[in-house]
């Protein structure tokens, strides 16, 4: 793998302010609380966690679709959070996103060909003929037919619509692609096609992905590295082999043991956690996971463990280590 870092995120905090008026004392929801990681060219970082853990907010914060509260984002050496106006627009060419729901992420009144061409128009790239040519190439690459360019989103199936969304995201040749649950809304028999498309395109264009999913097995399949999120923080991060074969955090261990598999009878013990993920509006003090943790220590409800490297390249935020 190439060692060039394309994206570096340091101590990122993303907060949501809640409506309540000027005199409201409601504190903001701290959806992402101090996340740091770096992403190398051609690498896939899998982000896994349950609903409300902040994985989508993290992606939106990185793209500045939600303005982060604090922290640093370095994209290809640029201070991405410091960019404004035209510079920001130009930098966004290098980082694109594919959303979960291909039914809502496409404009129903826009023909597929135009939806894919639009980013080129926004960035004033190429002549009309060159743009059309490029759209034809991309349609071909994502497995759509040239005739599909004139169709409207409702004429496509879910899988085809996701192909259009992917075409739109990669037409500018981005260095980083964020994919937020890109197969969750699709039929099971179509999911594999879209996952394969992501992998093929990555090989071809040497993009780096942040692949977000609640499906740990899919994450295991596509990722080089895995980060596990719980209530706005990374609780574990490491190579796919390290995290899946030797999970350190009690939450990761429970998560892996809850995946239904067909080799159930091979003696794997299920760890059933009590309770559910608490609301990010009011995270527990100390380690956020302590109320559900089967291996809680006395200090866990008071002090927050730092994410630290306990083995080469394998980080965990837990007092057990």
């Amino acid at each position: 793998m190439n060692s060039e870092v394309v994206l570096q995120v340091e101590n990122l905090h993303v907060y949501y302010h809640r409506p309540g008026g000027f005199f409201s004392k409601r504190p903001p929801v701290m959806a992402v609380r101090g996340v740091s990681f770096s992403l190398h060219r051609g690498e896939v970082l899998g982000l896994v966690g349950e609903s409300g853990c902040g994985k989508s907010t993290l992606a939106r914060g990185i793209l500045r679709l939600v303005e982060p509260h604090s922290g640093n984002i370095t994209l290809l050496g640029m201070n991405f959070l410091g960019l404004k106006g035209k510079q920001l627009r130009q930098a966004r060419r290098h980082i694109q996103m594919v959303f979960q729901d291909p039914y809502t992420s496409l404009n129903p009144r826009m023909r597929a060909g135009y939806a894919v061409e639009e980013p080129l128009i926004v960035h004033r790239m190429g002549s009309r003929e060159e743009r059309k040519q490029r759209v034809r190439e991309i349609f071909h690459l994502v497995g759509l037919h040239e005739d599909d360019m004139a169709k409207f989103p409702h004429e496509f199936s879910g899988g085809q619509r996701q192909r259009i969304a992917i075409a739109r995201a990669i037409i500018l040749n981005p260095d980083v692609l964020l994919a937020d649950e890109p197969t969750s809304a699709l039929d099971v028999s179509v999911q594999a096609q879209i996952v394969n498309l992501f992998l093929d395109l990555k090989e071809r264009f040497n993009m780096a992905y942040i692949f977000i999913s609640h499906d740990l097995r899919l994450i295991e399949f596509v990722s080089h590295r895995i980060a596990v999120m719980y209530l706005g923080q990374f609780v574990e991060e490491g190579s796919t082999e390290a995290v899946m074969d030797n999970p350190l955090h009690p939450y990761t261990q429970a998560l892996i043991s809850s995946i239904p598999t067909l080799d159930e009878k091979t003696g794997r013990k299920k760890i059933i956690l009590p309770g559910e993920v608490p609301s990010p509006e009011n995270p527990p003090p100390g380690c956020s996971f302590h109320p559900r943790c089967p291996q809680r220590l006395p200090q866990c409800d008071r002090t927050t463990p730092e994410l630290k490297e306990v083995k080469p390249g394998h980080k965990v935020a837990c007092f057990l280590y």
């Binding site: 594999a192 394969n196 992998l199 998560l255 067909l262 059933i272």
Partner: protein
């Protein structure tokens, strides 16, 4: 022995302005006492409509054209609505995918679990209360939540309440339609655990509907694979998982992500809409196999005891 539920040759059509088409065809399903049968398929495969046919709650425009549904010696499709009410809730309980939508926001959790007892057994609210608290304990809800309203509960607790409602009147069959799909993985594990307990403690028969083969493998005895409104394969769960016969089942099993694969083996194409199915075998356009008869619809045949498949590649 007569099975608890026996569906024979069911066909359901949708009549919409301008077009009508079959959504279920040639459906045969039987569930014995204490048995768990899993119905697995993608959206539009007909799994939810099967459940709604049993409950006689088909949406507007859907009609049963052929077939019979026998439940404990009664044929349900010819039953007047008034009689059917004795079965819903009392004999057959149902759990839906979205617990939020299955609960009434203006009634307390306790009252909603008590309702089947009040309606079917004529208990008063007061006498029902103790029974309800027992049921709440059984489904893992603290009895203190008796007076709580649905919005005060988490997603997992709401699904526990819905399961409590479904089993309150002590039905012999529970229909669970994607009961964990809206839940997080760690909560899904809790709810699956609850189903396993309920089955063991109450000897419940369960019709478990899901799109996830690995999930149903944790609880089912028998698995039925559906595609385009038809059963494609049926058999004991371990047989089907270890030796899938239908090319569709084989494709589904192979496309489960596993580490070490460079690419995921995929099924080409898309699920066809029910109003525009290919003629003959409904899977033929996406199938890796090709037989001379694929332009005719293959029958569902039993190739070994309890082992059924609808494919020209398996007709002796």
């Amino acid at each position: 022995m007569e099975p608890l539920l026996n569906i024979r040759g069911l066909r359901v059509d949708f009549n919409l302005p301008g077009r009508s088409f079959s959504v279920l065809k040639d459906l045969h399903i039987s569930i014995g006492e204490g048995e768990v049968l899993a119905l697995v398929g993608e959206s539009g495969s007909g799994k939810t409509l099967t459940a709604l046919s049993i409950m006689q709650l088909l949406p507007e425009g859907a009609h049963i054209l052929e077939g019979e549904i026998w439940f404990k010696g009664t044929e349900l499709t010819s039953l007047p609505e008034k009689e059917m009410r004795r079965f819903r809730g009392r004999e057959i309980g149902m759990v839906f995918q979205e617990p939020g939508a299955a609960l009434n926001p203006v009634f307390s959790i306790g009252y909603q679990i008590a309702e089947p007892l009040i309606i079917h057994y004529g208990l008063s609210r007061k006498t029902a209360m103790n029974r309800v608290k027992d049921i709440m304990k059984q489904v893992g809800l603290p009895p203190e939540l008796y007076h709580a309203y649905p919005h005060m509960l988490s997603g997992g607790q709401r699904q526990r309440a819905v399961i409590g409602m479904a089993v309150a009147a002590d039905p012999s069959l529970l229909i669970a339609d994607e009961p964990t799909t809206a839940l997080d993985v760690t909560v899904e594990a809790q709810i699956m655990d609850l189903f396993v307990h309920l089955r063991e403690e109450r000897g419940l028969s369960i019709l478990f509907i899901s799109h996830n083969i690995e999930l149903v493998a944790q609880i089912a005895d028998i698995i039925v694979i559906m595609y385009a409104g038809r059963i494609q394969e049926r058999g004991p769960i371990n047989d089907v998982i270890n030796n899938p016969l239908h090319p569709y089942t084989q494709g589904l099993m192979k496309s489960i992500p596993r580490r070490g694969h460079k690419r995921l083996p995929q099924i080409p194409g898309n699920v066809p809409p029910l109003w525009d199915l290919p003629s003959g075998c409904t899977f033929k356009d996406r199938c890796k196999e090709r037989y001379t008869q694929c332009d005719q619809e293959p029958p569902l045949v039993e190739i070994a005891p309890g082992r059924w498949v609808r494919c020209w590649g398996h007709q002796q």
